[in-house]
Symmetry: C2
Subunit: 381 residues, 2 copies
């Protein structure tokens, strides 16, 4: 069991909210500047092109074209007419199911409408100017933007060279007093994996007072072992889950933060509002479908293997991936390649500054990826 | 006119942020205790009683038993299977419809999943220790809790005596540099109205640098004129709307903040995440139904009139209301009355400290209110 050290207790007290940190907060807000703020909608708008044709192939947002499973859809149909009521009980029921499956107590699960909000709010709650947000590069940008909004520091640590795993030793060495260390496993945008041994090492060796934010948005698509056992063991770990990826509920909104109640309590007050009933019952129903994860992992994995085999045969390289997306080296500025693909009505994902000649490509249906391959051949020969 | 007493002013000062209060917060968090934090879910949990019977009358949360209109339900049925995608375009489409109906530009409308989150985030963005949150008492508590969380000051100004309108002159006089002045019209919990003339006066006379947060969650249930024309005229006014009340979509989640883009930009970065597709298409469809507002206003208004007539005949008093709830003087501690009603399987709303002998009662269906009346007669004679 994890006992708090006197230093940790003092840290918590200090963290409680210094006047100074709120001064900064207030100054930012008062300045009235439009913040260069990345949330999902902003990211989507960036990648959205006016007049996207109806027959466009949309493999730009790591969406799941399978949509919700039939059981989830049925559950949602069944509650719509009851939607005049908040029905918090459905939220509690979803939390209970997830807690049981993950082997944690129900109050260790905090349901959310996806995982973007708890990622964002965790950054607000645990990082500051002196306690930075330590992330991998390339990595998912949303949390970094939240850190910048509150004036917190951000430390980017490059992914390991060949495996594209998080460089956990470099992340721990990156700053003496990080607020949050963020590991997305498998990673976004690469889909690359960080080993269980490395995550265990990180939990054991991260600086005192820091929290590991383990984003498992894509875990169901991979062979990775979940990190909820760290939570069950009361470690300073927050696990994020979403139903937007394997479960095909991106637009329906469901997710959860899984952590010790004291950690969850720090995240929650940054926002308010009931959660969408539709997302809650859909998520709960999805969890109860046996083999759904295995079946969908295979469907998406098979399409991914086929696509990557095609690209390998053409002699192109990509980061290792166990996810519904991959980072492809297109040997030209990524945005240039993306524009050429757009001319073929294929909409692929963003380019990361750290890897300017790579593009992120999401895994669509077999039909969609056939169109991707045809367009790729046309452009690249 | 209601002037603040010295005691009230001292209460305001005390209520402002102190290290001590944050120390308490941190200690609570560390202890793993559930925070006394009011968001909708917390409020719901407060009023939820274990094992509420299936035949209970639930008139405790200002819900609309009518649920979503058929057109909204149809629109939602139609998108569920597409829920694997974020479909931000549905959010933008909803914003466009609302903007057109309110006579503001589309970028003056920021969709949200209800109005609790923008209320909460507006408090975070615009209030601080030196720029307090000025509210009516009794009023909706959620914003006050957000203010306390960030250590901002809170100034409570009693409602006017007979009309139970917001005392706009006292609210303006209450503090020289308020961050936000909050007017809920019609008010929650009372359902009482603040006149257009008073709101106009407030817009004109509020201290420079302050923003009026005009919560119109319940406006469709009343004869009040919307305040979106202040927004169209680029005043420092943020209007909040929700589809949780008249539109019967509390569990489906849709709402909006309507304001100048520079004001909206300050609210948005406090949270992140796509909005529920189901809520967005339901809201958009609801807006397009002609006469829906008038029809539902009449249905709910008729049940309200009948209930209030019954109570008047019994000699009981209540605050004037044009909403789906009323505040009833039960001539005994409100919680005591609520407990008696609960024994009759009638679940009514909360009690406000300022009015300890009043209870908030939501308007249910005619059948539900018949049960309320029967229980009332049994208890009160």
């Amino acid at each position: 069991m994890n006992q708090l050290t006197p230093e940790q207790r003092m840290e918590i007290t200090k963290r409680g909210f210094s006047r100074r940190s709120f001064g900064r907060f207030a100054a930012l807000a008062t300045a009235g500047a439009t913040l260069p703020f990345y949330n999902e909608a902003a990211l989507a708008q960036l990648s959205m092109v006016a007049n996207m044709p109806a027959d466009a192939v949309k493999i730009n947002a790591n969406e799941n074209p399978l949509g919700p499973c039939p059981e989830a859809a049925e559950a949602i149909y069944g509650v719509i007419k009851k939607g005049g009521r908040y029905m918090y009980e459905e939220t509690f029921s979803f939390a209970k199911t997830l807690a049981d499956q993950e082997g944690v107590k129900p109050n260790y699960v905090q349901p959310w409408a996806g995982s973007s909000a708890p990622l964002h709010q965790a950054v607000m709650a645990f990082t500051s100017k002196d306690r930075p947000f330590v992330i991998a590069d390339p990595g998912y940008e949303a949390g970094e933007r939240a850190a910048k909004f509150i004036g917190a520091g951000v430390v980017r640590v490059p992914l390991m060279k060949d495996t594209c795993a998080h460089d956990v030793k470099a992340m721990v060495a990156a700053h003496p007093t990080p607020g949050l260390i963020y590991v997305c496993n498998p990673n976004n945008p690469t889909g690359s994996m960080t080993s269980r041994a490395d995550i265990e090492w990180l939990v054991k060796n991260k600086p005192a007072g820091s929290v590991l934010l383990l984003d498992e948005a894509y875990i169901h698509l991979s062979s990775a072992q979940p990190g909820t056992d760290f939570v069950a063991a009361d470690k300073d770990v927050i696990v994020l889950r979403t139903f937007s990826k394997l479960y095909g509920m991106a637009g329906l909104r469901a997710g959860a933060a899984i952590a010790r109640p004291d950690l969850l309590a720090k995240i929650q007050p940054y926002t308010a509002g009931a959660l969408p009933l539709t997302g809650m019952v859909g998520a709960n129903a999805s969890l109860k479908v046996k083999n759904l994860v295995a079946e969908r992992r295979k469907i998406i994995g098979d399409v991914r293997s086929d696509t990557l085999e095609f690209l390998s045969k053409k002699g192109y390289k990509f980061a290792p991936t166990e996810s519904n997306k991959f980072m492809l080296d297109v040997r030209m500025p990524g945005n240039q390649f993306a524009a050429k693909m757009r001319d073929e009505k294929i909409y692929i994902g963003r380019v990361w500054q750290a890897w300017p000649n790579h593009v992120r490509v999401s895994i669509g249906t077999a039909e969609e990826m056939a169109k991707f391959k045809a367009a790729f051949t046309k452009i690249m020969g």
